[in-house]
Symmetry: D2
Subunit: 133 residues, 4 copies
């Protein structure tokens, strides 16, 4: 599964640009790493842009969904809570399948910022995906 998702992520031009790296895959779970780049990933105050936060969470959740429901899934609903400014040298998103149904897949995710060796949750999300997109 790890190899399959590593291959899948290279087919997405945005994932390549952002440098998303699949670091762990289990049944119903996926972990994604990204190195912070101040020159093209920041919002106006210098934190990680909300779009990048969403991209990490949505992708980790989508990849988690592929482990239960096949490679072709599409997000239809995405909700996130930004708990703290997303500041760090590196970010890791963990996506988990909450329930994989025939018509819909429910997932949840957490985004961690790593700064000076400390890990901190900066955002959480839930997504709803449709299989066989």
């Amino acid at each position: 599964m790890l190899e399959q998702l590593r291959e899948l992520t290279t087919t997405a031009s945005f994932n390549r640009w952002a440098g998303f790296e699949v670091i762990r895959v289990e049944d119903g779970e996926c972990e994604l790493r990204m190195v912070w780049r101040p020159d093209d990933m920041g919002q106006y105050a210098g934190f990680l842009h909300a779009g990048m936060i969403a991209a990490l969470l949505d992708t980790a959740c989508g990849f988690a969904a592929t482990t239960t429901s096949g490679l072709s899934v599409l997000s239809s609903q995405f909700a996130m809570n930004c708990l703290a400014p997303a500041v760090g040298e590196e970010f890791v998103a963990i996506g988990r399948v909450v329930k994989a149904g025939r018509k819909q897949i429910f997932t949840s995710g957490e985004l961690f910022a790593f700064s000076d060796g400390e890990r901190k949750v900066v955002a959480t999300a839930t997504t709803l995906l449709v299989p066989g997109g």
Copy 2:
């Protein structure tokens, strides 16, 4: 206000990379344009990446919020519905303030794809922001 937001968007490195262009600002409303780039904005099926959809909607909503509540606002909750595959040569996000309170600002947004001269809604969102971030 248009000049102020055009300046603000240049301070965000992600917005510069994505080429976000503020094309209209009114009291409580903001319109943002982005040209599609297949080489670094796509998901695995070649549509606009969900992170980019979120970035456009969140930014348009945030800019709308600045018109009522000052330049320093931070998103705390973001929810979006992806209604149709985001395919087009150009995308326009419109953000609107629904209610601007002292503690919280509620906004909503729509994302339109332009393809062969046709306009189509591809996603909607609501965001909740905190002023004086």
Copy 3:
């Protein structure tokens, strides 16, 4: 359609208890009225309970969805923003279909409080439903 939804709402014991009244139905739209009862609908501060706000919005959106997608629809995702304390003698929820797909129906809704002849938006919502429940 009005008669059909008036009949449908009597089959739901909660709707009967709450006194939900279908006052308008159009293609893709439904309007629902409820009279405020302080003795069994309030939260601790005396406003309309968040559960009742959700019930009105979810039901109006669900009824709107039946006009495009058949009587058997089930909510799978519901999100609401509470803009102002829900205070009034009467409440009216309007649900609208945003997009009716084969697999999913997207709707949005608004809740109005009527107080001394004045109408005020107190909450908004979006819901995602699955047809053929």
Copy 4:
């Protein structure tokens, strides 16, 4: 804290009507029980009404928030996912504080249905509250 929340819940007329019972309170966490009544809590198919699901989740989350942020909190954003039909003799909602800030409190909740001695998750939610409402 248990006594305080048991007293608080009696001040809400809806909670009294629904028979919400606070069965466990800890720092940042609250558990709420409700017995199913087919005669005034059902939707059209006979499951627990989405408004009741929302009421249980929102109340458990709100009570959890009071343990960290004082008795006067107001929900401003509520999102729920309905994972399975809410069928059971009894329902238990667990609310947890995810982050308690000065301006906003983020919580999450789960709703369990108990049927023939079996426990099943039927819905999840996140809420965002404002302290000092």
